[in-house]
């Protein structure tokens, strides 16, 4: 899996950097210009090991802000995962708080009057912290980790539909893979569907 991702991303980056076409795949993105996206909602799911010891999707919340200039964009996202287990007398809640910054290259662009969309690949680096609140017979105790390192690779599609000259509804669909020594499984597969608004400069 890791070797495959390495070659996939390297190949895609190499192809994209050698691109010559002016529209569609490997276009220079002049038509896109620059824009700012605020994704405030969506559906997000990350693979984690569940109580039955199976790897399954764990839903979480996410907000993000991205800025795009021609073929490149940067995205900063905040994710929160909360998971509880146990019973009335003995239970714990795990809170995962994460900040990741992404650098993405949009290697396919489509640009029309009322819509834009693109395919992109990205690399992310970030940090997360986890807190466990343990409750036993009415007494609660909270413990936190230090800030921990996390990294990721992404492949996705984003699009926007303009309802004014500058404002658009924005959406993005991504498949990501996150890596960190502190997560299980490692690497972890992640799917994100973002919804938000875009302002085009």
């Amino acid at each position: 899996m890791k070797i495959f991702l390495f070659f996939l991303i390297s190949t895609m980056l190499s192809i994209s950097l050698n691109a010559k076409a002016d529209s569609g795949f490997f276009s220079e993105g002049n038509g896109v210009g620059s824009n700012l996206n605020f994704y405030f909602t969506g559906l997000f799911s990350r693979s984690e090991r569940n109580a039955a010891q199976e790897i399954s999707g764990n839903d979480y919340s996410n907000v993000s802000l991205s800025y795009r200039l021609k073929n490149w964009s940067g995205l900063l996202e905040n994710s929160n995962i909360s998971e509880s287990s146990g019973n009335f007398s003995s239970n714990m809640t795990r809170l995962h708080q994460e900040w990741v910054g992404w650098a993405r290259y949009h290697f396919y662009n489509e640009d029309a009057d009322v819509y834009q969309c693109s395919l992109f690949a990205g690399i992310g680096l970030g940090t997360f912290q986890e807190e466990i609140k343990t409750n036993l017979l009415g007494t609660t105790r909270a413990d936190k980790t230090d800030n921990l390192f996390i990294s990721g690779l992404s492949l996705g599609w984003d699009g926007s539909y303009f309802f004014t000259m500058n404002w658009a509804l924005a959406a993005a669909l991504e498949v990501r893979v996150f890596g960190s020594k502190e997560i299980d499984p490692n690497p972890a597969l992640d799917e994100a569907f973002r919804l938000g608004i875009q302002y085009r400069f």
């Binding site: 090991r49 019973n87 390192f149 960190s180």
Partner: protein, 470 residues
């Protein structure tokens, strides 16, 4: 010029992509599973407060896991875990569960989910019980890490239980669905199950099939159904399970539902008892002793006479070791009572005799547990020691007694019965320096329990108290 510039940019991006990809790959390594023996591993565990006067309360404590070799599987010198296990070739089989921790800023490992908390709690209690075994003379009985099945799935959907299986020499914990303290976290219940492993090995020489009463039958039936290659072996194992008598008992004849009801009126008429009755009697007594002494061991370990109520509140009244008032007189079951119970069960043609004996065995067992507990209280008074010290002293005596039960059982003639009075004699023989109060208590127990036996009284002989027949 422009082309040259973009060539440089392209090469730089390639290099950057390679470096970042390598960084990502480096972080994509498996969680560090191994722990050096010198590493101190402290975990947060719900534990009993063991100080005097605080029995029954639990709190979150940081405890060091000893002998841990793999923290992600909570595997080490004292336990290894199997998730949702099967039985394969008479061994527990399955994958080890993956624990999930966070490492707090102070360096302690905090369980991040219920199953991890249960794994560390069981490990901590087993490590404590292993150390306790050493202190009371039971070291070497259990060898190697204890196999523990968690998330055990039973065909009849049983929940809220735990049991020890001598065949696989493993502990099994089924899911806990009630609101109380989970069984896998209840130190008293873990000690109770651990005692079954000692009883099985020391009384039955680890003979297969001589299990505790908990729902092992259902678990074994699904295990037998899974492994088709061993179907024949599983059938014979079930037959062995049915053979509930002491070592050397002949094969059980086909159960005859047309029992002579006059036997109910003459329970001591042993001349007309068949081998089925003989085996049912010993199943009742030995299972009762196993359960009762296991409850006593749980109290010795936890200091809590109501240890079971935290998890199974419905059992509090019947299984409490703390009794007051008129019923505080400690008595053991008499052989006539035991025979009467068996005859009553056999007189009902439609009754499931096994379930009937099982439920009565717990009642029998509680008598043993309460008597042993009261004796411990008397010991503390007689010797001027704390309750904690007295518990350890009496635990040592019980460990000395268990092989004597084995010896007495093996000496029994085929038609001879093992009586509770034989157990009491063996226990008294294990006490090298009987004190007066202890002797008086034990003679009271004898005289109140065994009405058909010679009465006993206490006498000093060379400054040592002895119990003698009147």
């Amino acid at each position: 010029m422009k082309r040259l510039f973009f060539n440089h940019v392209r090469r730089g991006c390639h290099l950057f992509a390679a470096v970042v990809s390598m960084g990502i790959l480096c972080s994509c390594s498996s969680k560090d599973e191994s722990v050096n023996s010198s590493d101190k591993v402290q975990v947060l565990v719900p534990m009993m407060d063991k100080s005097e006067g605080s029995s029954g309360s639990y709190s979150l404590q940081l405890i060091e896991l000893l002998g841990i070799s793999n923290l992600q599987e909570v595997k080490g010198d004292f336990a290894h875990f199997v998730f949702s296990p099967r039985i394969k070739n008479n061994h527990i089989d399955g994958e080890a569960p993956k624990a999930r921790f966070i490492k707090s800023s102070s360096g302690a490992y905090i369980p991040a989910n219920e199953i991890t908390q249960q794994m560390v709690a069981i490990y901590v209690h087993l490590q404590n019980l292993a150390n306790f075994d050493k202190e009371v003379g039971a070291s070497g009985i259990n060898v190697g890490p204890q196999a523990v099945g968690i998330g055990v799935s039973i065909k009849d959907g049983s929940e809220n239980n735990a049991f020890y299986d001598p065949k696989t020499d493993a502990l099994y914990f089924v899911p806990y669905t009630w609101k109380g303290l989970p069984i896998a976290v209840n130190g008293g219940i873990i000690a109770h199950e651990h005692f079954h492993s000692l009883f099985s090995k020391m009384v039955f020489n680890g003979q297969k099939g001589k299990s505790s009463l908990h729902d092992r039958r259902s678990f074994m039936s699904i295990a037998g159904g899974v492994d088709e290659a061993n179907e024949v072996d599983d059938k014979s194992r079930f037959e062995m399970l049915n053979r509930r008598g002491p070592p050397g008992t002949p094969e059980i004849p086909k159960f005859d539902s047309k029992i002579d009801k006059t036997k109910l009126e003459n329970p001591d008429d042993s001349g007309k008892e068949d081998s089925q009755f003989y085996q049912d009697y010993h199943y009742l007594l030995l299972s009762g002793m196993n359960e009762g002494l296991a409850d006593f061991w749980a109290w010795v370990y936890s200091g809590d006479p109501d240890f079971i109520a935290h998890s199974i509140p419905t059992e509090k009244a019947t299984r409490t070791l703390s009794i007051k008032g008129e019923s505080s007189r400690a008595i053991l079951p008499d052989q006539s009572n035991l025979k009467r119970i068996v005859r009553t069960g056999e007189s009902y043609e439609s009754l499931d005799i096994k379930d009937y004996l099982k439920s009565n065995a717990y009642l029998i067992g509680t008598q043993f547990a309460r008597a042993m507990k009261k004796f411990t209280d008397v010991t503390a008074q007689a010797r001027g020691v704390s309750n904690l010290v007295a518990r350890k002293q009496v635990a040592k005596l019980l460990i000395k007694t268990l092989p004597k039960i084995n010896l007495e059982l093996s000496k029994l003639a085929l038609d001879a019965y093992y009586h509770p009075s034989i157990f009491l004699n063996s226990f008294i023989d294990s006490i090298p320096d009987l004190k007066e109060k202890e002797c008086l208590f034990l003679s009271d127990v004898w005289n109140n329990s065994f009405l058909s036996e010679h009465r006993k009284s206490c006498k000093t002989q060379d400054a040592v108290w002895k119990m003698i027949s009147e």
